[in-house]
Symmetry: C2
Subunit: 235 residues, 2 copies
């Protein structure tokens, strides 16, 4: 059954109107008829069962019949990644991370970042469609790109990791360092890696250096692997 | 340092010639000079240190100075996946799986597969460049697409899994079912999922039904997740 996203939905109103895009999609593409059942999520844990009430291709209305509320996960994953030079790669990461389960994605421009501009609108759309495609009820938060120093100030998660090999001690895999049901933040550097200054800043801010496996990974592969390892230790 | 791939390299010969493509890349793009150091792998576990001997842009030659042989991993991962309708998605899977570590990728056309043609040449190139990019010495084996029944006949791995939810019993995550240092084969269905007949065939052939997590995953996400979970339990 098709899942629509309606962030401003209120369960105390009986009739609701799909956005113009969703109305067109519902009526023209899905050819939904009056009385057809659909699902609607607010991206905040609520998934509503609904039936199509009117089929105006610009203002398709529906009525709620039931609501299913999913509690937040007992852990939270925040991946902070430097946007890749080739934007496809970061878009791919967002789609996959949302499918697998992630609470928050933050971006930063590092000293060695080649990309210095990041438009969020398209990235938001990718996150929404991945949430819908994987039938989830929570839309992960996407943060605008900040400088590395500004990003560090926004990190309140208790378990902090930076994907970087330590010079003096043997590397430890993220999945061995992280504890179950934690609030995690992981820093993933750009193609040019973190600068020494950034590493020092992160360590000073309580980030632990971890590895994500034996192989050298691309930025977006590393970001997805961190997300997957943290999901796995909570499975 | 740049890593070249030369499957037919022989360590008993002192001088070797890069392929025409690699020669152009080495001389024109990387601007390598006589005496510069490079790495060369045969994709079969050997990584050679070498120095550029002559810089003909069509026949760049090099001499081996040293060889480092990596033993095969104590486990092996084989993912058998139905090619996605949109080929980009399967190409992403190949790149990422090779980066993370995989021994063999097999393709099959299921009863519900929309895609019925798969050209291997481009997929091979993606695997080679991912192997080089992640500095590995083994090139995973890519198999031509077979019918589902034909594919099952080729599977000799002891630990066999099919990503499908059982009807009668509670689902078990692949990572909980698989044992460390095993020889694994995992079947991942097309967008339209496996047919009932295919499920029965797989179960009859000793495949265990497993889940890859709580969310509904796209074909290529499921394939990559299976690879990642099996790598993780061996980490």
């Amino acid at each position: 059954m098709h899942l629509f996203y309606q962030p401003d939905i209120r369960s105390n109103e009986s009739t609701h109107i799909l956005t113009e895009d969703d109305s067109r999609h519902a009526v023209k593409t899905l050819r939904l008829r009056v009385g057809d059942s659909v699902l609607v999520t607010d991206g905040q844990g609520n998934r509503y069962s609904a039936v199509i009430h009117t089929t105006d291709p610009r203002r398709c209305s529906f009525r709620l019949t039931d609501v299913q509320t999913t509690p937040p996960r007992p852990f939270s994953i925040r991946i902070c990644v430097a946007p890749t030079k080739n934007l496809d790669r970061i878009e791919w990461f967002i789609e996959k991370a949302v499918e697998l389960g992630i609470e928050r994605i933050s971006f930063f421009f590092g000293q060695h970042s080649e990309r210095r501009v990041l438009k969020m609108e398209r990235l938001e759309k990718i996150a929404v469609s991945a949430m819908k495609q994987s039938l989830q009820s929570y839309l992960p938060k996407l943060d605008d790109a900040l400088s590395f120093s500004e990003l560090l100030k926004t990190i309140t998660e208790e378990e902090r990791f930076i994907a970087h090999l330590p010079n003096d001690e043997p590397p430890v895999n993220l999945a061995k360092r992280a504890t179950a049901t934690g609030q995690y933040a992981v820093l993933i550097g750009p193609e040019g890696d973190f600068s020494d200054k950034e590493i020092q800043q992160a360590v000073a801010a309580g980030f632990q250096m971890v590895t994500l496996g034996p192989n050298r990974l691309r930025t977006e592969t590393a970001a997805l692997t961190a997300c997957q390892l943290l999901n796995f230790i909570n499975a």
